[in-house]
């Protein structure tokens, strides 16, 4: 099978999730992504969640063993270049000259301080497309502010409409970081759109993306409720206008829950039969959509009598059998064994170079002619430096040796103890 993005080369400076996952998606579709890290500042994701056990028992090179890093950097080439060193910067600009795009999600101002802002990149390559996947974009008084993914849940307005009806606002939090994830999906697509523009016009462009603004556009209905009608949108738990009930109910088993959505009175009748309470179909507290919305709390108690006596999978199956929308609340751990995802090839096993076996999630889409695929594990730090410098950039062995002596290239992080 062919690959959609074959022939596109990306000089990739992205780190952590939002940026690194965007270029991973492009690499899975066939783009040649060359990740550039420095020994003094490797991608911080290399130090996240390095597996069980005390650090002292860990591998000698933990920076090559982070499951988070290895997830979102597979299929990339990895080179190490100290961009703060003039020779490192020059070498990077040689790579830019041979690339179609440069991607980055540093804090605002870092690219300019490194002397590789968009104008400089354009001098090296007039057609270059640059993607800056910023927290708040460039320009404006808060552009240099820091964020941790979910803090943008708060700043974008999403968090103000997320929460139980009677709780403080709630965010997607540290182990989801929703804004990072969706920004990475969008970042991949908008870069391809800009590359298409370049193919048509011959001109490159700088994509200046604000993750905060992206999330605000994803609550557009709630925004318009306020800007058009002056109605302040509220936290509404799991309630949504088209269903009643629409909520999660406690099941047997540790933290077991089943999500149930009922639309219309006919479905309600089927639901009451399925939970063996047919009399509720005509009970005036619950007989209509509006009545059910008004008695959600009483309804919870009644429904949980039925759900709490079976586990979430049984509850889901019984309700689905009766034609009711129902789904078990799955953990990430359970998803790894999910029959549907596995049947569709969503998970791909890989042997990492240093970290052994890992299960990679593939993509949120299937393309019939050019499917995304995993061809190789994430690079160890500096793994492809020599290859890229010599074969792609045409540096001599002497020049590469010089860069090594100067500390511009390094295969282990500087200032980190190597055991």
């Amino acid at each position: 099978m062919e690959q959609a993005l074959k022939g596109i080369r990306i000089a990739d400076l992205t780190i952590i999730t939002a940026g690194a996952c965007a270029t991973q998606m492009l690499a899975d579709l066939g783009a040649e992504v060359i990740k550039v890290e420095s020994g003094t500042y490797p991608d911080p994701f290399r130090y996240w969640q390095q597996g069980p056990g005390d650090v002292a028992d860990g591998p000698p090179d933990p920076w090559n063993c982070s499951p988070s890093f290895n997830m979102v950097n597979r299929n990339k080439r990895g080179i190490s270049l100290d961009l703060k060193h003039p020779a490192g910067r020059d070498t990077f600009l040689k790579l830019v000259a041979k690339s179609d795009a440069v991607t980055e999600n540093f804090r605002q101002g870092v690219m300019d301080r490194l002397g590789i802002g968009y104008e400089t990149l354009r001098e090296a390559n007039p057609g270059i497309v640059m993607l800056s996947l910023g927290s708040q974009g460039s320009g404006g008084p808060e552009s240099h502010y820091g964020s941790y993914g979910s803090t943008l849940d708060a700043l974008s307005g999403l968090m103000g409409v997320t929460g139980y009806e009677d709780s403080h606002p709630i965010w997607s939090s540290g182990e989801v970081n929703y804004p990072d994830q969706v920004a990475s999906i969008f970042g991949a697509g908008i870069l391809l759109a800009a590359l298409r523009q370049r193919a048509k016009s011959g001109r490159g462009t700088h994509i200046d993306l604000s993750q905060r603004e992206l999330i605000t556009t994803m609550i557009g209905e709630q925004v318009l409720e306020y800007t058009i009608d002056g109605r302040q949108p509220r936290q509404q738990g799991n309630a949504r206008p088209e269903f009643a009930p629409n909520d999660c109910y406690r099941c047997a088993g540790e933290d077991g829950w089943v999500a149930i959505s009922v639309s219309g009175d006919e479905e309600w009748r089927r639901f009451t039969a399925a939970i063996e309470r047919p009399e509720l179909a005509t009970d005036e507290r619950f007989a209509t959509h509006l009545a059910r919305r008004g008695h959600a709390r009483e309804l919870r108690d009644i429904i949980e009598v039925w759900t709490s006596s079976r586990d979430k999978q049984e509850a889901m199956e019984a309700l689905q059998h009766a034609g009711i929308r129902a789904g078990a609340v799955r953990t990430g751990a359970e998803l790894l064994g999910d029959p549907h995802l596995n049947d569709r090839g969503y998970y791909v096993p890989i042997e990492n170079t240093r970290a052994g076996h890992q299960t990679l999630r593939l993509a949120p889409y299937h393309l019939s002619e050019t499917p995304p695929r995993v061809e190789r594990p994430a690079p160890t730090l500096g793994q492809d430096t020599e290859h890229v410098l010599r074969d792609l950039l045409g540096l001599s062995d002497g020049e590469i040796e010089h860069l090594t002596r100067e500390g511009v290239i390094a295969n282990s992080p500087k200032g980190r103890r190597v055991r």
């Binding site: 062919e2 969640q49 499951p67 974009g137 008084p141 820091g146 708060a154 700043l155 307005g157 999403l158 968090m159 103000g160 997320t162 139980y164 939090s173 540290g174 182990e175 989801v176 999906i185 969008f186 391809l192 759109a193 298409r196 523009q197 193919a199 048509k200 016009s201 001109r203 462009t205 700088h206 200046d208 603004e213 557009g220 709630q222 306020y226 058009i228 009608d229 109605r231 799991n238 949504r240 629409n246 999660c248 149930i260 959505s261 639309s263 929308r325 789904g327 799955r330 953990t331 549907h340 995802l341 049947d343 569709r344 890992q358 299960t359 949120p364 889409y365 299937h366 393309l367 019939s368």
Partner: protein, 397 residues
């Protein structure tokens, strides 16, 4: 492709079928970049035009779907009874004129009208067909009955949001749909990139469940690494939601931010040696929360936001829509757009979350249902006035 083309997608025509937010958002992302996006709507506008939340008033005095106004900006709408033979004739002509189809009706429905993917691919080998469904085109859950809540549950996201002692929670609005729209957009960009040099179209199968699982990938990856099942943690970690004088603040203190938190708040007890290490701070997270809470409760969210950021703490405040309308950051980037819609409202709309240097992107309002019916039939499909009259008489359009 023309050398004079000014916008990334202005040579592309996309056909949008169905009434879901995911398809409409995917279409909007194309329209934002200059594509001609044609919605095929039911006569009178259909379910999407009347979906809640409703806002404003149209010319007939009815409230209009906020999703319609937001997501259909820059699109054209043709109203057409697709369940009639005439409607299906028109649909066939629309397929012939399109580069992309974004389908939210279901490929089975199209197949029943004689437009299976195999047939479309044979007739129009350059066509990119994007189907967005809860679970995708195959697999054991293919026909499971779904809502966004059910998809969020099965995809693993609900498990991570909310309080540990309470029911799992959806993110606000329609995030399952929006995230699915993003997946479709990026897949379409890849398919169009491929088509630009191969002249070959293809089928894109977007599963909302896979999109949710993709967004919520970390808990599975971490579990595989250390065997610990991730669940909702609520307010019991270094990720804290704290009341301020006039709202809420979202605070994260990683190792490198803790000295900043000590300095920002000036709370002496934060220097206790129990809090000196990461494991210590994790163990006593609830105590740290109790210590800092009064300091936050005595200050405004904006003061905390600015002062915290200047101490290098990447905290955020929980913005209301009003806060966003008055945000100096949004103002400086020109995020808000004032638009006159063809309904009796004049309001500010979220603009584009990105700028492309040297390229001015279009900004226009959503059409009324069917606003371009005549234009599309006449100019795009080349129908004669007699043919159009015929369809009108048959109540197809």
């Amino acid at each position: 492709m023309t050398a004079t083309a000014a916008l990334p997608l202005d040579d592309l025509v996309a056909l949008e079928l169905g009434d879901t937010i995911a398809t409409a958002y995917a279409g909007k992302l194309l329209a934002d970049l200059g594509a001609t996006v044609i919605r095929v709507d039911a006569l009178g506008g259909g379910a999407f035009y009347r979906s809640e939340p409703l806002v404003g008033r149209d010319a007939e005095g009815f409230k209009v779907s906020a999703a319609w106004l937001h997501l259909n900006r820059g699109k054209q709408s043709i109203t057409c009874a697709l369940d009639t033979a005439g409607g299906q004739e028109i649909l066939g002509r629309l397929f012939a004129s399109a580069d992309i189809v974004i389908d939210g009706l279901g490929l089975d429905v199209l197949s029943g009208w004689g437009f299976s993917y195999a047939q479309l691919h044979e007739s129009f080998p350059r066509l990119v067909v994007t189907a967005i469904t809860p679970f995708g085109q195959n697999g054991p859950y293919r026909d499971v009955q779904a809502s966004d809540l059910v998809i969020g549950a099965l995809g693993g996201l609900l498990n991570m949001v909310g309080f540990p002692e309470r029911e799992p929670l959806s993110l606000g609005g329609s995030q399952v749909q929006y995230a699915g729209g993003l997946s479709a957009f990026t897949a379409m960009m890849a398919a169009i990139t491929y088509r630009d040099h191969s002249e070959r179209g293809q089928l894109i199968d977007v599963s909302l469940m896979e999109t949710v699982a993709f967004v919520e990938w970390k808990s599975g990856a971490y579990y595989e690494a250390d065997g610990r099942v991730r669940r909702r943690v609520g307010n019991h970690s270094h990720w804290l939601v704290l009341p301020a004088l006039d709202g809420y603040v979202a605070l994260v203190y990683q190792d490198q931010n803790f000295p900043g938190l000590q300095k920002l708040t000036g709370i002496e007890e934060l220097h206790d040696e129990r809090f000196a290490t990461r494991p210590g701070r994790a163990k006593y997270a609830d105590e740290i929360r109790e210590l800092v809470a009064p300091w936050f409760a005595a200050r405004t969210k904006l003061d905390i936001y600015r002062d915290g950021q200047s101490e290098g703490i990447p905290l955020g405040f929980v913005a209301t829509i009003d806060d966003l309308l008055n945000s100096p950051q949004y103002e400086a980037r020109g995020f808000w757009q004032s638009l006159d819609q063809p309904v009796a409202v004049q309001a500010r709309y979220p603009g584009l979350p990105y700028h492309l240097s040297g390229i001015e992107l279009p900004s226009s309002s959503a059409p009324l249902p069917g606003a371009q019916t005549g234009f599309i039939l006449r100019e795009r499909l080349g129908l004669s006035p007699e043919e159009i009259d015929h369809y009108r008489a048959e109540e197809v359009i």
